[in-house]
Amino acid sequence: MAETLGNLALGFGVALSPPVLFYAFVGCVVGTLVGVLPGVGPLAGISLLLPATFGLDATRAIVMLAGIYYGAMYGGSTTSILMRIPGEAASVMTCIDGYAMARKGRAGAALAIAAVGSYVAGTVSVVALMLLAPPLAAFALRFGPPEYFALLTLGLLVLAYMSSGSMLKALAMAALGLLFGMIGIDQMTGYFRFAYGIVELGDGIGVVPVAVGLFGLAEILATAGQPTPPEIVKPRLRELLPSRQEWRESAWPIGRGTVLGFLIGIVPGSAHIIASFVSYAVERKLAKRPEEFGRGAVAGVAGPESANNSATSGAFVPMLALGVPSGPIPAVMLAALMVHGVSPGPLLVTQQPELFWGFIASMYVGNVVLLILNLPLVGVFVNLLRVPYPILYPSILVFCILGVYAVNSSVVDIWIMLVMGALGYVLRKLDFETAPIVLGVVLAPMLEMALRQSLAMSDGRYAIFVARPISGALLAGAGALVLLGLRPLVTRTLDWRARLALAAKGEEHP
């Protein structure tokens, strides 16, 4: 412990030196910006700035790139809350209740809760990263294909079990998402599936055009289709801050989101979007009044926003402790280290203590910077809602198209977004939830790959899924959940989902 404190002191010495502080600040500002812009996510931001870091020393470069990464998680909530457009993929869940809050005039509160939740999650998870990195990284490595498959199966069942409204509709949407996810090159055999000769479709359908189309475009279309423009609830200045009750209601979701996000972030290959989905589902399940979810429940903002932030720190665990990339963003950051002649790996902590501890300390500092940066911005961003629709919506459309194009410089992506926008509009009119589609698109390639890799490992024997302890335990959990889901059929009691439906009915016929 004393050693850790000594190391941390060394780290703060590095992190608080003016040049490092400056680059942390630049990273945080850029991160907030790419997070705010719809479509452009942290990966695009980091990739664009990577060449600019080649002239810096390794510590400054990595501190700046990390700032972009976790900064984007702060910024991502902004457009989700104000316009129902996910600023980056992990903010999809925030769209649902954040936007509902904004319509009730609580946009300021939602933004502030998101910023504070992100701050708490960011800071607490750095402590976890600092203390637990080596043992956790070793554990994360034990996740091979069978464990992934079990984890993803469990995740899908958890989400189906906890979705509101019709379970059948939610499952149908997840299945549609999984089908979209099948498009593209078959990683195991090299066959192109459903590509119709379009080379770009060989990579499959990206999550960004799908998320922006289903949420952003569909919202614009739906609003334009209303006979009278929706009344804008103009935020009053003194209502910018969350009320005492809203704070109380978000405290536990922030805590739970932090823990969940960190744990999910560690597992290599999992995405932040999964952390925020799981957090949302858990909060709805634990809520005293689950019927409020989807209508502006503050817990539906606090949980997922905290989860996606602490997933960022979780993702650094395998990267720093083992030199193993846990996703595309840590992979780019590892490349940045290699460019500076720092070989990332298990020896990084001992060979480059200044880099490692400076990096850790800079994350404490960066999170404070982001909180200071984002809280005043709440007032600025909320004023965007005062812009009249005829000006606001076309501008949003332009930003969506630019953002989606920027990710891969691909016109095909824009078409995908437009098709998804039309689909999202139709599905909204038919009362389908579109969030499970996004999840399906993300999970399909991972789920399929994990299943087939496992079978390649075992030479086709399915026993591999139960013979390995971690995957066996996860699958047992999934089985238990299926039984729980079937219970109401047997005992004829109303479960929370049925109560939810009743509550909804009561609201329609007061």
Binding site: S47, L48, L50, P51, F54, L141, R142, F143, G144, P145, I185, Q187, M188, T189, G190, Y191, F192, G197, V199, E200, G202, D203, P268, G269, P318, L322, G323, V324, P325, P328, A331, V332, L334, A335, A336, M338, V339, H340, G341, S343, P344, G345, P346, L347, N408, S409, S410, P445, M449, R452, Q453, L455, A456, M457, D459, G460
Partner: protein, 325 residues
């Protein structure tokens, strides 16, 4: 139809020829297309190449990442771009694999190798065979003998089906007469994670990424695919030394222009590339990446490229279409 196409081409060619004759090349910015995302081997090689070329050619050289379909999107875009020397390609070995795989599946090829004029080979990194340190094999010979006894039992991870790391293993399997079990991953990073987690038994990899894990004692190197031993691992023999012929494999990076680029422009680019690899800044950058500079140009590069393409083409055909159980 044909006539129309030729007629359409003529003014193009005339223009290009005229431009080459009149204008000193280059007069405007040059795009160096990297068909992979930023941060990968190709991108990390391209950036110092672009910076060094810029200095020599005295014109801005910008790196453009055009990723997609394992590089096919970017390669296709250069293959069909105007052959004026202002659009160049930095490609890896996979440039000769993609058209072969397309042929195998009866797809209209995204591009063919004759659509590119080789300018210069920049680097060539032989892959090395690593196994987890807790596995029994101490030498390549033990590994191969065990694999002969248990065909299809020893599993290796790769960057993807028909990917470079898959082809390296395939060439070795053929040379040594063994059959290994292939577990493809989406990229070299996840393939490395898999072997570190003990989920597979072997991996072919570029030396730079596995060196830290060899030093920390988690992985053991058994052999190399190059014609020479890897400088950082002088005790690790090459497969050629051990008598496995025809397994030679490199992950190389080279610069190409679209076919039809005027010869004076190509000559200028070749000279520029030669000067560029001599730049101290370029050498330092490649040194940090632990990637050896191997420079070849003109005929020499063409011969290397053609021999490599032939080996890889045979490899792809031998693997054939992958059918899973």
């Amino acid at each position: 139809m044909m006539l129309a196409r030729v007629c359409a081409l003529v003014p193009c060619l005339l223009l290009a020829a005229a431009a080459a004759a009149q204008e000193p090349y280059p007069t405007r910015p040059i795009a160096l297309v990297v068909p992979f995302p930023p941060g990968g081997v190709a991108d990390l090689t391209a950036r110092p190449v672009a910076a060094a070329l810029e200095k020599v050619l005295k014109a801005p050289v910008g790196v453009v990442n055009k990723q997609g379909a394992a590089g096919a999107v970017g390669m296709q875009s250069v293959a069909t771009s105007r052959p004026d020397g202002y659009t160049l390609l930095l490609a890896l070995s996979s440039i000769s694999i993609i058209p072969e795989a397309d042929k195998l599946f009866g797809r209209p090829p995204a591009f063919t190798v004759d659509q590119f004029a080789p300018i210069a080979l920049i680097s060539a990194d032989p892959t090395i065979l690593v196994v987890p340190a807790d596995k029994p094999w101490k030498t390549a010979k033990e590994f191969i003998e065990d694999a002969q006894k248990r065909p299809g039992q020893i599993a290796f991870s790769s960057s993807g089906v028909y990917g470079t790391l898959h082809m390296a293993m395939e060439l070795l399997s053929h040379a040594a007469g063994i059959k290994l079990r292939h577990v493809p991953y989406a990229g070299a990073g996840p393939a490395l994670t898999a072997i570190l987690g003990g989920h597979v038994d072997a991996l072919a990899s570029g030396p730079a990424v596995v060196l830290p894990h060899i030093k920390s004692g988690k992985l053991r190197p058994l052999g190399g695919w190059g014609d020479k031993r890897v400088a950082a691992l002088p005790d690790v023999p090459t497969f050629a030394e051990l008598g496995y012929r025809g397994a030679e494999f490199y992950i190389w990076a080279g610069v190409f222009a679209p076919t039809g680029t005027p010869e004076p422009v190509l000559a200028k680019l070749r000279d520029a590339a030669r000067a560029a690899v001599e730049e101290p800044a370029f050498k330092a950058a490649m040194d940090k990446l632990e990637t050896p500079i191997v420079f070849k140009q003109g005929e020499e590069f063409r011969r290397f490229f053609e021999a490599d393409a032939r080996r890889l083409g045979e490899g792809v055909r031998r693997v054939g279409k992958v059918e899973t159980q």
